[in-house]
């Protein structure tokens, strides 16, 4: 096979057995890799009603056929499982260098089942695969774990691991690889912790066979083009926090738990401030032309100390504007804590912002939390992050997620998310298509199942009124299908979603790598198949229209800022069009004809 390595690793943690089996070529051809192939495996094999944190759940590490092929930005892998946060399918995506090691060791997929009696980690050194005792690193943070495992295995090993948050089953625990890259969302780290699996360490020295290497050389031309384009230069210069300015200027920077869309202190936590105050150097994932990562250090003598990576834009929103913290150094410290303890910064922020609103409402007291929790109090937020990761006191409840906390304290409407997962940093009242995208995402509030900034904010490829429902269903469907295919390929979303001709390019690369000729329409159709299969997964668990929802704050409380002032998200109107165009019934269930036409039976 070209592109795919052709081998699946199965790890039964209950009995401690590792087996290898050949990859089914038909599975690869129809579902590509990443979330596409993984959801098919789960639908075929998973006991659907399993407890996500029980031994019956399956945890899948998976790359894609384009991973490490010389294709532009091809250093990604995904973790796919049944989420303990949402109860739905979930797929969490990460970069760095671990994905390259994973693929070049010779594997497309690692499927973990069961539950280990004692903590273990998986050590993969090319052909050699074994489970090892993780006693020395259980309880340690992600940085220490990485160091210990490298000492125990090989200095070139790439390590993907959980921290205390995953061990303590925080429902939004992340899996951290290469020190600071994160498969962060939906609680994939908690599933790993529940299985007693502390880490996966891989050293890979092999290569990947591709069908048409000459066409792939085009990748270098495109990389050069991106590096010289304004947006490419901006990514390298400012990283994703560049967007703080833009979101604030458009009044779509979620602030004070989405009550507002403009953060007064935005200029204190943007990409320029990071350059001036904390940046050590920019960082790139494997095969990247953008370098959007930030390696940072807190200044000596300051209140907060440490060195690490980030924050990314999403953290500037979730632990910055949305909890009203405008102190870059405090925000950076919170980002370090999340990376070290293995927490998703986005749902950590989403939960804390809900708790702050509950505190303001008097629904929860300082006595119950252990201290006052007022807007903008960075030290209180830092203390709460440590409590969440360790499962201490109120931290145990906060570790169940924002929806749980909001419901428990009697104000479910203060949770700003969908299907139990907190939103990303784009306020839907000022870009209503993003609201439709959140509502219909298979895993709820999410920024990687497609975002709508290019069409709704930048007007690319065509100007679009961000406040109107017109054309949004069609646009969202297109973005979701394209994103599903790109993620399945094992490459980064950024360049392909930013370039107008991104889908055409990914189709060309996919054809060149695999030798299977695919057009733009072909790859969109595969993306549509993947998206429908995820929908089918959720349907079997009882999810339908009632779950494609947004908080009342977005659908009934008018926006307070800028051009979107007075606007709300017309969700039901958009949903009707969306279901019709998807070929789903009015309750959001894919019809037999639709599934059949996509080859899903």
């Amino acid at each position: 096979m070209n592109g795919w390595m052709g081998t699946v690793l199965r790890v039964d943690l209950t009995v401690g057995r590792v087996t290898k089996e050949p990859l089914d070529p038909l599975l690869a051809r129809n579902y590509v890799g990443g979330r596409g192939m993984a959801v098919k495996i789960l639908l075929d094999e998973l006991k659907m009603d399993c407890d996500p944190l029980g031994p019956d759940n399956m945890l899948i590490f998976i790359n894609g056929p384009l991973t490490v092929t010389g294709t532009l930005c091809s250093g990604r892998y995904m973790v796919v499982t049944k989420s303990p946060l949402t109860g739905t399918i979930c797929s969490s995506n990460s970069g760095g260098y671990f994905p390259a090691a994973f693929k070049t060791a010779g594997y497309d997929v690692i499927i973990f089942t069961g539950k280990s009696k004692k903590p273990v980690y998986l050590w993969v050194n090319d052909d050699h695969v074994e489970l090892r005792d993780a006693g020395a690193c259980w309880g340690r943070d992600t940085r220490e774990t990485c160091d210990i495992i490298r000492r125990e295995t090989h200095k070139e090993a790439c390590v993907s691991c959980i921290g205390p948050a995953g061990e303590n089953l925080v429902r939004y625990a992340a899996i951290i690889n290469d020190g600071a890259r994160a498969a962060a969302r939906s609680g994939v780290g908690a599933v790993m912790g529940a299985k007693g699996l502390k880490a996966v360490a891989i050293r890979g020295t092999g290569g990947v066979r591709v069908a048409d290497p000459e066409t792939l050389l085009k990748s270098t031309v495109i990389a050069d083009h991106i590096k010289k384009a304004d947006l490419g230069i901006a990514f390298a210069e400012f990283g994703t926090p560049l967007f703080v300015d833009v979101m604030n200027a458009n009044n779509i920077m979620p602030t004070k738990n989405f009550q507002e869309g403009f953060f007064e202190a935005g200029d204190e936590i943007n990409g320029a401030e990071i350059i001036d105050r904390t940046l050590v150097r920019s960082k790139a994932c494997y095969g990247c032309a953008l370098n959007c990562g930030r390696n940072t250090r807190l200044p000596e003598g300051g209140k907060y100390q440490g060195r690490g990576d980030g924050p990314e834009y999403e953290t500037c929103y979730s632990l910055g504007s949305n909890i009203m913290v405008g102190d870059l150094e405090a925000l950076t410290k919170m980002n370090y804590i999340c990376n070290e303890t293995g927490l998703d910064t986005m749902d950590a922020g989403s939960t804390i912002s809900a708790a702050m609103e509950l505190y303001e409402m008097g629904r929860i007291t300082a006595g119950e939390i252990g201290f006052p929790l007022v807007w903008g109090d960075a030290d209180a937020a830092i203390q709460l992050l440590y409590m969440i990761a360790s499962g201490e006191g109120f931290g145990r409840e906060a570790g169940m997620g924002g929806r749980y906390v909001a419901e428990k304290y009697g104000a479910p409407d203060v949770f700003m998310g969908s299907k139990g997962q907190g939103f990303a940093g784009y306020h839907p009242r000022g870009m209503v298509g993003q609201g439709l995208l959140y509502a219909t995402s298979p895993e709820g509030g999410n920024h990687t199942t497609g975002n709508t900034i290019q069409p709704e904010i930048n007007g690319i490829p065509e100007p679009m009124d961000p406040l109107s429902a017109e054309g949004k269903a069609e646009m969202v469907i297109r973005r979701q299908n394209e994103t599903a295919f790109i993620e399945a390929c094992g490459v980064c979303l950024f360049p392909y979603m930013l370039m107008e001709e991104g889908t055409e390019i990914i189709a060309e690369f996919y054809s060149a790598v695999t030798g299977l000729e695919h057009t733009e329409d072909d790859v969109r159709r595969i993306g549509e198949r993947i998206f429908n299969l995820e929908r089918e997964f959720n349907r079997r668990l009882g999810f339908d229209r009632k779950d494609d929802s947004l908080p009342k704050r977005l659908t009934h409380e008018p926006h307070t800022d800028g051009i979107a002032e007075g606007n709300v998200v017309p969700l039901e109107e958009m949903l009707d069009s969306y279901y019709r165009l998807r070929g789903w019934d009015s309750n959001g269930v894919p019809t037999g004809d639709t599934l059949g036409s996509l080859g899903i039976f």
Binding site: D230, F238, H447
Partner: protein, 80 residues
Amino acid sequence: MIRIRIILSGLLRKHYRMPPSSKGEAVELKSGACAADLLSRYGIVSDKVHMIVINRRKANLRTLLKDGDQVRFLPLAAGG
């Protein structure tokens, strides 16, 4: 004369060597100046500017400036 504050976001700040502060800088212009005049003052090419915001409101090149205005020029954006 009017005194306004100009802020360049993202890449514009790098291109046009704005001082190392995201709070921008103060500048004096003749009364009746518009956003385009401000761009000219800094030698900024207008096709590099995707969006102009004056005092948190979207504006355009012809928008007249008033004393005390805060004017922000932004390039294209993306998500992250």
